[in-house]
């Protein structure tokens, strides 16, 4: 006779009761997972709120500044070309997914316009970053355009901030 399962009651459980208990535990876990999945899906399909759009604008704003600084340092000879292209390519993926996020959902009321605008700016940023990644854009020119986008994104972000 074993000492421990330190839950002594279990020693006296009959096989039928044990089996039932497995199903109950499994059921509880499945229920919890289903709840988590439901909450997650609900959260994803909800219309975008002001905070969500602001966060997207902030991300894009940060990316545009990051890219601008990257190009500047490349033009100053502080960054290798490979680094420029690879980093731009990674940044482009980020801009792309943020822009997509803006496009895939709707927003409520007056946020609809902001959502569209932010998504549009995201696409423009993505295009510029693609040019940097492929080497098809002229770096100095792209730098200027990135600065412009930065200004627009900063404005967008500020307009969405709650006081």
């Amino acid at each position: 006779m074993g000492l421990g399962a330190l839950q002594h009651a279990k020693n006296h459980m009959r096989l039928g009761a044990k089996k039932r208990s497995i199903w109950i535990e499994a059921g509880v876990i499945v229920l919890l997972i289903a709840l988590a999945v439901t909450l997650f899906v609900q959260n994803e399909t909800k219309p975008l709120k002001q905070a969500d759009i602001k966060i997207a604008a902030a991300n894009l704003r940060s990316l545009s500044s990051d890219a601008g600084q990257l190009v500047q340092q490349f033009l100053d000879g502080e960054v290798t070309e490979t680094f420029l292209r690879s980093q731009a390519s990674l940044m482009r993926d980020k801009a792309k997914s943020t822009a997509k996020q803006m496009e895939s959902s709707k927003a409520d009321g007056e946020m609809e316009l902001k959502r569209w605008q932010t998504g549009h700016l995201g696409e423009q940023l993505e295009t510029k970053l693609a040019q940097l990644a492929d080497g098809t854009g002229e770096s100095a020119a792209v730098r200027i355009e990135l600065k412009k986008l930065f200004g627009e994104l900063k404005e967008m972000e500020d307009s969405l901030k709650q006081r």
Binding site: L6, A51, D52, K54, I55, A58, N59, R61, S62, L63, S65, D66, Q69, L70, Q73, G77, E78, V79, T80, T82, F83, R85, S86, Q87, L90, M91, K94, F150, K154, K161, Q162, R163
Partner: protein, 412 residues
């Protein structure tokens, strides 16, 4: 003379394990968002990891037993298994993120396919851990991780407002633009503390103590190493916050990619600064990946009583060796799905802070237990700090998830 070498190498190891991709991104963003006002958190976290690192090392030196052996003895099978699964899940996710970060770094230097580099990184790590002894791994990655010093120098060079920096070490509520930023600040306090006090650092340190054959006479060695080693590691973190606050914040850059970190050394030192920065990150991330894979294996072996240790030929500890190999393989599979490594590590750090009390409490209990430790049990200083930090991490654990939700994943 030999002791001095041992101290030096031990310090290297403690320093090296300090910075990994999560800690790097959080530190940079801490500076980029809040300038210098999170510097006190680095001190808070560092003292915490010193306190618990010292306890762990002392436990290993006195009992000559590793952490999870004692956790199972103290907490029993089921509770211990719960802790094991939680701790190893965090280590797995951390390892995943490091591998992703490494692949990104290779791509930054050489261009080419990210996914191919993930596989290359896996092979590199497998070869390193399989063929190198514990001591060689510690020393090589510790030494090469020192290249990260370029970030400290760059951070110092880029900083002008030293008055502001000094005030950053005083805990205070920062000036913020919107009220929601208070919550983001709190989130960063919690996340930064967690990234500094990640459990794998203590588990690995204790396992290393046994691999290195420590005994009670090494108690002072242990104290010197944790205090100096982790403090120097904290300097790296401070350097990153300086780069964030002095360089990135004025430009309104909040980095989500490790490559952005290298712009700091690049602007100060030019191309060589960039390359040294990337290499430093490479060895820091690689060291962290290895430490987490091995920690997972150590934890399994210590809990289930398997034969373990890099000091044994692999064939004499087959399950232990298979375990770290599986950790690396699993981490690689996860990162191959294309998840963003920075996102993975952010979530794993929050998960880590939630289970931090669970992973540290048994350590505190054992360190104070005279049955295990004899007269080496916690003195009043270790006790006070041990309990104080336990309360701190308990509060952090409770606040973490609410803060994560309120701040929309830390973004505001």
């Amino acid at each position: 003379m030999k002791k001095i070498l041992e101290i030096f190498l031990g310090i290297l190891t403690a320093m090296g394990g300090f910075v990994e991709i999560g800690e790097l991104v959080f530190s940079l963003n801490a500076g980029a968002k809040f300038r210098y006002s999170l510097l006190w958190v680095v001190v808070l976290g560092t003292v915490g990891i010193i306190v618990y690192g010292e306890m762990c090392g002392r436990i290993a030196a006195v009992t000559e037993q590793p952490v999870f052996t004692l956790i199972r003895e103290r907490a029993g099978y089921t509770a211990g298994l719960g802790t094991l699964i939680a701790a190893n899940l965090v280590s797995l996710l951390t390892c995943t993120a490091e591998i992703g970060g490494l692949a990104i770094l290779i791509k930054l230097l050489f261009g080419g396919n990210y996914f191919l580099y993930i596989v290359l990184v896996l092979v590199f790590l497998l070869v390193c851990v399989w063929f190198m002894s514990f001591q060689v791994i510690e020393r090589v990655f510790g030494l090469l991780g020192l290249l990260m010093i370029v970030f400290v120098v760059a951070g110092v060079y880029l900083t002008q407002d030293w008055n502001g920096v000094a005030w950053g070490f005083v805990p205070s509520i920062p000036a913020v633009e919107t009220s929601s930023d208070y919550f983001v600040y709190a989130y960063f306090v919690v996340a930064l503390t967690s990234s500094i006090m990640l459990p794998y650092e203590t588990y690995f340190y204790a396992a290393g103590a046994i691999e290195d054959g420590w005994n009670p006479s090494d108690i002072t060695l242990n104290r010197i190493i944790v205090i100096i080693g982790f403090s120097l590691g904290a300097l790296l973190s401070i350097g990153l916050i300086l780069i964030g606050g002095s360089f990135l914040k004025p430009l309104l850059i909040e980095p989500q990619l490790p490559g952005t970190a290298a712009l700091g050394p690049a602007i100060v030192f030019g191309k060589w600064g960039l390359i040294v920065g990337v290499l430093g990150m490479f060895f820091a991330f690689a060291g962290a990946a290895i430490e987490n894979a091995l920690t997972g294996a150590y934890n399994f072996a210590h809990f289930f009583g398997w034969s373990w240790g890099k000091f044994r030929p692999p064939k004499d500890a087959p399950r232990f060796n298979l375990a770290w190999i599986v950790m690396l393989l699993a981490a690689t599979l996860i990162i191959l799905t294309g998840v963003d490594p920075v996102q993975v590590v952010e979530y794993s750090i929050i998960f880590a802070v939630v289970i931090l009390p669970l992973t540290y409490f048994p350590m505190l209990l054992v360190a104070r237990d005279k049955d295990y430790m004899g007269h080496f049990a916690n003195g009043w200083l270790a006790d006070i700090f041990g309990w104080l930090y336990f309360v701190i991490i308990l509060l952090a654990a409770l606040a973490a998830i609410p803060l994560l939700i309120i701040t929309h994943g830390g973004e505001g």
